[in-house]
């Protein structure tokens, strides 16, 4: 094939020579229906010659020995879904999907390996559970589990805020899991004053309010003499007397003989006011009914936060 001469604009009356024909006119791209049609029409292809086949919309050039698909064709001829992927294709717009994402069916679910190159959905556990390795669980080898009670130290059992409540009850917080419990009252406000009372509860939600509470203590403020607190067959423990309206106090209450069968529930309390009041108290109830919960009341409405901790045996 003759070497190309480039581009030329012919003028009117100009003579078309053989060199013009070979150098300009024969340098175009020939279009065929297929490669078979191309090969039949061009029996002696020349190096550098181009052809286009319409059946596959392919562009070819002759390298001197064979027809070669030109670089205009994309390198990627198909997308095949591998492990963890679905979808794919060999033409047009191809969509692939992360199969792990579609394996998840609910918020909080986890994708867990079930073997070499395999996985499955592990549904979310319940509140406060932790993920635990367990080789006996098939096929996950892990599971959601409620943590065991601590072998030592404090374990938080329950905490909650309360607002403008005449009574605050915490039921079923004492069980045989622990021997001693600590209740912390934070930022306690009392709309009618600082008096704070406490009752034991039994069963699922029964307040013990008969006259069987015995105890004593004292309170002091920075503006009044020490005052004693006495409960002698009263209907409540008196943790702090009335000392100031809306006095914010923090109480730490130790509870023993509760949640462990037939024992007389007893307690001791230390209340620190917001700079101008302190109250201590210790008391016991004259009843061996198993104590399962506690109620706090004030001479006004209570606002604050409580937390119950179990002290490991």
């Amino acid at each position: 094939m003759a070497a190309g001469l480039g581009f030329k604009t012919f003028t009117t009356g100009e003579v078309l020579t053989a060199a013009d024909t070979n150098g300009y006119l024969m340098q175009g791209i020939n279009v065929f229906a297929s490669t078979a049609a191309r090969n039949a029409a061009i029996t002696s292809p020349q190096e550098g010659q181009f052809a286009f086949t319409k059946d596959t919309n392919s562009l070819w050039y002759y390298d001197g020995a064979a027809w070669v698909a030109s670089g205009a064709t994309g390198d990627i001829e198909g997308v095949t879904a591998g492990i963890g992927i679905t979808g794919g294709g060999t033409s047009g717009t191809v969509t692939i999907t992360n199969d792990m994402a579609t394996t998840i069916t609910a918020a909080g679910d986890l994708v867990v390996g079930t073997g070499s190159g395999t996985y499955d959905n592990l549904p979310i556990g319940t509140t406060a559970q932790i993920l635990t390795a367990d080789t006996t669980v098939s096929p996950y080898k892990v599971k959601w589990a409620t943590p065991a009670a601590a072998a030592s130290g404090l374990t938080k059992i329950v905490t909650a805020d309360f607002s403008a409540s005449a009574a605050v009850q915490i039921s079923n917080c004492f069980t045989s899991t622990y021997v001693n419990y600590i209740i912390v009252l934070n930022a306690l406000g009392n709309s009618a004053g600082g008096a704070l009372y406490m009752n034991w509860m039994t069963g699922t939600n029964t307040v013990v309010n008969s006259g069987i509470y015995y105890g004593g203590g004292w309170s002091v403020t920075n503006s009044a003499a020490t005052a004693t607190i006495t409960n002698n067959g009263d209907t409540k423990f008196t943790l702090a007397p009335t000392v100031a309206t809306n006095l914010r106090q923090n109480f730490t209450i130790n509870c023993s003989n509760v949640g462990n069968g037939s024992q007389d529930g007893n307690m001791s309390s230390l209340g620190n006011g917001s700079g101008n009041g302190i109250a201590t108290y210790a008391g016991i109830i004259a009843s061996s009914a198993s104590t399962t919960g506690v109620q706090f009341t004030g001479n006004g409405n209570l606002t604050g936060t409580y937390t119950v901790y179990g002290l490991a045996k």
Binding site: I157, S165, A167, V168, Q169, N172, T297, N301, V308
Partner: protein, 72 residues
């Protein structure tokens, strides 16, 4: 008038509910508060009576409280 509010948490389930006190609970609370108020009133009356008696004795002795204290 609406009854006072009570806040109840079940530590076994972690569920907290707020509700009005039943009439019986409210009555029991009112009785207790009235009893406390009566006790406080009684204590105040006794304190007032003692203060009055002290002032009367000091007047009969012709001494101020500080002068009486200096004699002890």
């Amino acid at each position: 008038m609406a009854n006072n509010k009570i806040t109840i948490t079940d530590a076994a389930t972690g569920e907290t509910i707020e509700r009005e006190m039943t009439d019986q609970e409210q009555s029991s609370r009112n009785d207790f508060l009235a009893e406390i108020a009566a006790q406080e009133a009684e204590a105040k009356a006794l304190a007032d009576k003692a203060a009055t008696k002290k002032a009367s004795l000091l007047a009969k002795l012709g001494l101020t409280a500080d002068e009486f204290a200096s004699l002890l």
